[in-house]
Structures are given as C-alpha cells and as structure tokens.
C-alpha cells in the first residue's frame, strides 16, 4: 500500500517534470518556427545591409540596417552605463558592507523591486525626465532609459556572483596588505570576470530586445544614428511598425526583422553559456 503510494507520487512528479520541460522546448521551437517560416521569405542580404529607401514601408527596396545599428548602439551604450553603476554597487554590497547591514539589504530589496517594474514604466519615466529637461527623443535618452532598465538585473546578477566568492580568497589578498579596493579589482573581479560578463550579456540581451522602454525615448529614424542627440531606430520598434502595416510583404519583413533580433539574442545566449563553462573551469 505505502509502496504503491510512493510510486504514484514519483510517477506524478516525473510526469510534471517532463511536461514542464516539454512546454518550454515546444514554445521555443514554435516561436522560432513561426519567425523562421514567415521571415525566411523576406530575409535577404539587403535586409541586413541597407537602410530603408523611399517607400520601404510600402514594400519597396531597402533593409533594417538602421534598426540593427541603432539597437546595437543603444543597447551597447546602455549596457556600458549600467555596468559603470552595477559594478560599484555589487562591490559595495559584498566587500564593503557588513553582511547584515540595513543599507545593503535595502539596496538589494530596491533592486529586486526595480527588476519587477514593467519596461513601459521605465519608458514613461524616461519620457517624463526628458520633457522636464526639454530633451527630444534621442539615442542618448533611449540609452539612459534602457540603462535603468538593465541596471537591476545586472547589479543583482553581479551581486550573486560576488556573494559566492570564497572568504579564503579575500583573506589571502588582505593578508598581503591589500585593501578592499585592490582586493576587489585585482583578485575578485579577475576571479569572477566570466561570470560577471554573463550578467552583463544577459542585461544586454534584455536591453536590445525591449520595445516599450524605447518607444517614447529613442524615437525612430530611417538613418543610422550619427549623434547621441538625434533619434535612433531599434529592432523591436522596426518589427512593431512593419507588423502593423496591412501589406503582406512588409509584414514578412517584420518577421525577418524578428528573426534577426532572435538570432542576435541566441548568439548572446550561446556566448553566455560558453563563458559560464569557461568560468567553471578556471576558478581557483
């Protein structure tokens, strides 16, 4: 009797595990299949290498290089900004602050809350600030907004990485007369660099794929951005605009653009996995 019940329990749990796993894999495959099937038709070299020419959104010649470049500029700049803030936060939380320090706990809590804030709210916030300072929608405004969006994710990822650094390693550096800053930069960051980079790349992935935060803040243009203060196109918005039109060819290009964005994110995920593996091998 008892034996049977345990078997049923285990069977039930196994089914649940397999089911959940299948759902994950199936969704990924379905999403990829949709954008590949629909996007492949419109996918060509021009998409990657040309900016929209006259009548592009009505089905004429051109590509989305403006959005590809804009997305990389914007997410790249935002990621650098977020990094400049996240690094010091993570180092403060783990090296300088006492373990149960109230400030540190409050900072962590704030980051967790910020992480959960929907990106449209960041967009609205960015817009408010822009209006206040009389700025136009621009690459810079988009960067700042996306940096704020990326910050909680990146800072918490780095925080978790630094939290795992063994006490002995810090002590080894302290014992040689190094102070906390030297220990952080020369030993701890070095030891955890691949894992920290993983956090950076994940945040980059979030930033490059987000539409809502750039909707009001970055604007849109058919040209490759040449100034921080001019507008910048982004892939998510390019997808959005193209899918909105009633013209089938343009919709297909929307799927092709989605395919491009997905490939970029896929590439980032692969790099993250490689880095993680490398990290596991090299840590002392």
């Amino acid at each position: 009797m008892g034996m049977n019940w345990r078997k049923i329990e285990e069977f039930f749990f196994k089914t649940l595990m397999i089911g959940a796993t299948l759902i994950v894999i199936a969704s990924l495959v379905l999403i990829l299949a949709t954008i590949v099937v629909k996007g492949a038709k419109a996918m060509n070299w021009d998409m990657l290498t040309k900016t929209p020419e006259g009548g592009f959104y009505l089905g004429k010649e051109g590509g989305v290089l403006n959005a590809i470049a804009g997305s990389f500029y914007l997410a790249g700049g935002a990621t650098v900004m977020a990094m400049v803030l996240s690094g010091p936060i993570a180092i403060y939380l783990n090296i300088y602050a006492r373990k149960r320090s109230k400030t540190a706990e409050f900072v962590r809590f704030s980051l967790d809350v910020l992480w959960g804030v929907p990106s449209i709210v960041y967009g609205a916030f960015g817009l408010t600030i822009m209006l206040y300072f009389g700025m136009k929608a621009s690459l810079l405004a988009g960067m700042i907004t996306v940096a704020l969006l990326e910050l909680p994710m990146m800072a918490r990822a780095m925080d978790e990485v630094l939290r795992m650094v063994p006490h002995d390693l810090k002590d080894a550096s302290y014992c040689l007369g190094a102070n906390k800053l030297e220990t952080s930069l020369r030993v701890i960051v070095r030891q955890t660099l691949p894992a920290l980079m993983t956090g950076v790349l994940l945040a980059f992935g979030r930033g490059i794929g987000d539409a809502a935060s750039v909707l009001f803040t970055a604007g849109f243009t058919d040209y490759i951005p040449d100034s921080l203060f001019g507008p910048a196109a982004t892939l998510p918005l390019a997808i959005f605009f193209q899918l909105q039109t009633p013209i089938p060819e343009v919709q297909d290009r929307g799927y092709a653009s989605a395919l491009i964005l997905t490939m970029i994110i896929l590439a980032i995920s692969l790099v993250v996995r490689l880095l993680t593996r490398w990290f596991d091998r090299n840590s002392v």
Partner: protein, 332 residues
C-alpha cells in the same frame, strides 16, 4: 626580546567568548608553536596578530596586541601596514587567480614596487627562498591553480615572504601536505627563523618538538601554559598540559572547595590557604582565586612545597588568577 606582546586579550564570537584573557609574549626571531585541541582558539589567536579577524562578522576583540611595542588595534593604525608586517599563511593554501609570477609579484606591486627587472628579481628570490624555484622557473606564466597542493603551499609562502614581513604566522601550514612537502616547509622555517619571527599553529606535537623554541598551550579559549619548548615538553607544570602531551583525555577538574582571596600580606594569605587544605581530604581539589599576578607564582610554589599538586594556574579575568590544586596524602 619580545616581538608580539599580547595583553589581556579576549575575543567574543557573537557574545560567546572564543579567547579569554590571553597574556603572552612572543619572542623575536624564534619559532613559537601554538598547540591545543581542536576548537581551543589557536586560529583565532593567530588571526588577532594581523587583524584578519576584523574582516569577520559579529566579532568583538578586547585587550591589546603590541607588535614592536605598537598597539596594532589603535585607531590611527593602517591595517594594511600591519598585515604587510605580520604575514599570515593560511591553513589551506589559497592561490590567487593569476599566474605563478603574478602571485608572488602581487604583494610587492600593491606596495608600490614597479619595474620588470625589480619584480623579476623579487619573484626569483622569494621562490628560491620557499624552495619552489627549480620546479616552476620554466612556467612562471602559467596559472598558479595548476600547481600541486604542496607546491601551492610553498607558493603561498613565497608570496607571503615577497612583501618582506617581519613576522610569519603559519596556521597548520603542513597539515594538507605529504610528508616530503611538509618536511620541505619545515626546513624553510628553520632557515627563516634567523630573520623572521615565526608563530605556527600545529596539531602535530612531534612537529612542535622538532621546530619550536617556545610553546603556547591553549585549552578552551584559555592560555593554560607557555614557556621555552625544552622546559614545556620535559616538565609541563599543569595537569591539563600533561594530559594533552601524553594524549590523555583532558577532564575538567571537579572543584571540591573554593577560596576567593583578596591578597594582602603573603604569609597571612598562605595561612588561609593552608587552613582550607586542612578542610579537605587527600585527592580532593581546592581552587584559589587571587587578585594579584605576583601572588600566583609565589603561592603555587608554597603549595607545591607543602606537598600538594598544582593542577592548573591561569588567568581568568582582568585582575583574577586561579590556582587549582589537589591535596596529596600527608608526606611523612
């Protein structure tokens, strides 16, 4: 000559004491061994000498540690300078995540040494000092984590020596090593003691006998006995030391009678003590608490010459010392 002077040092872990009222002087250019059963506070004591304990959470340190006569816990003291002067070799070797070369050069670079040539010289010199040079000279640029544990321990020694400390604290530095590597390290210590003050923690009594000039015996956070090695091993004064050295189980003494003495004139005090002995049977134990350090030695001496056995004499508070003695059969 005293190098590290520990005065009335107590360490509390989250309120509960880890070390209690330790007072001891560590001689210069000698090897001092700290021994005692696991958990008695050896590592804790060692870590108070370079303020490494500061980095731990929830710890309170009371008392004074003087290195070269300077209080290392004073407000104005730069803790990185303390650690430069008093190097600590951890129980488990912990190499830094960089090349062999950079591990050794790490300390000197931190302390402002620049220039390829100078660093090359420093790295070679200290790897030789630690007896590792021959094994690694052809792969200085490869990651230190690729070395064997024994080699890593010697690398840590080289790295520690490269900052040119005056004191080397070694926490069971040979416990993770095979006998050959352990002997290599031991031999280094014997050579190094001419120029450095070495304080080592060890579980291996034979090792303490081989190496130590001076011995400190801790038991449950208390300093039980300390003295020159020869004397310490050949004529341990107290029951707990004798028990530990002979590998016997150390039991807490069952106190049959207690006497709390405000010290006055010595012969009068001694009379009170003798009266107390008169009230107990042979084999029973009397504990006398006194409030003057000088009284401890004198009184123990007199109690012994009366024919009783001193089991223990130790500091228990800022101004209190305990003598625990067992009454013996009357000697005719």
């Amino acid at each position: 000559m005293v190098h590290i002077d520990v005065q009335n040092l107590s360490v509390y872990y989250k309120g509960q004491p880890g070390l209690r009222n330790i007072a001891v002087e560590i001689p210069r250019n000698k090897i001092t061994a700290i021994i005692g059963p696991s958990g008695c506070g050896k590592s804790t004591l060692l870590k108070t000498f370079n303020r490494l304990l500061d980095e731990q959470e929830g710890i309170r340190i009371k008392g004074t540690v003087l290195v070269d006569g300077e209080d290392i816990y004073a407000d104005k003291v730069d803790v990185t300078q303390v650690r430069k002067k008093v190097g600590l070799l951890a129980q488990r070797p912990q190499v830094l995540p960089m090349s062999i070369y950079d591990n050794v050069a790490y300390g000197p670079r931190i302390h402002g040494v620049r220039g390829r040539k100078r660093l090359d010289g420093i790295v070679e010199e200290h790897l030789k000092m630690a007896g590792l040079w021959e094994e690694v000279k052809d792969r200085l640029k490869s990651p230190a984590s690729g070395l064997s544990i024994g080699q890593q321990q010697r690398l840590c020694l080289a790295r520690g020596l490269a900052v040119e400390p005056e004191v080397i604290l070694a926490d069971e530095s040979t416990s993770a090593l095979d006998p050959i590597s352990a002997e290599t390290i031991e031999r280094r210590f014997m050579e190094l003691k001419n120029d450095y003050t070495i304080v080592m923690v060890t579980h291996v009594l034979r090792q303490a006998r081989r190496l130590a000039d001076y011995v400190i015996f801790l038991y449950m956070g208390r300093l039980i006995e300390h003295g020159p090695a020869q004397e310490f091993f050949d004529h341990p004064k107290y029951a707990k030391t004798q028990g530990y050295l002979s590998g016997r189980f150390i039991e807490e003494h069952k106190i049959d009678r207690e006497l709390d003495l405000k010290c006055g004139e010595f012969s009068a005090d001694m009379k009170i003590v003798r009266d107390e002995f008169g009230k107990i049977k042979p084999g029973q134990i009397l504990r006398v608490t006194v409030d003057r350090e000088e009284a401890v030695g004198e009184m123990s001496g007199s109690i012994e010459s009366d024919g009783h056995r001193i089991l223990e004499a130790k500091r228990v508070g800022k101004i209190s010392w305990e003598i625990v003695a067992e009454k013996q059969k009357r000697i005719k």
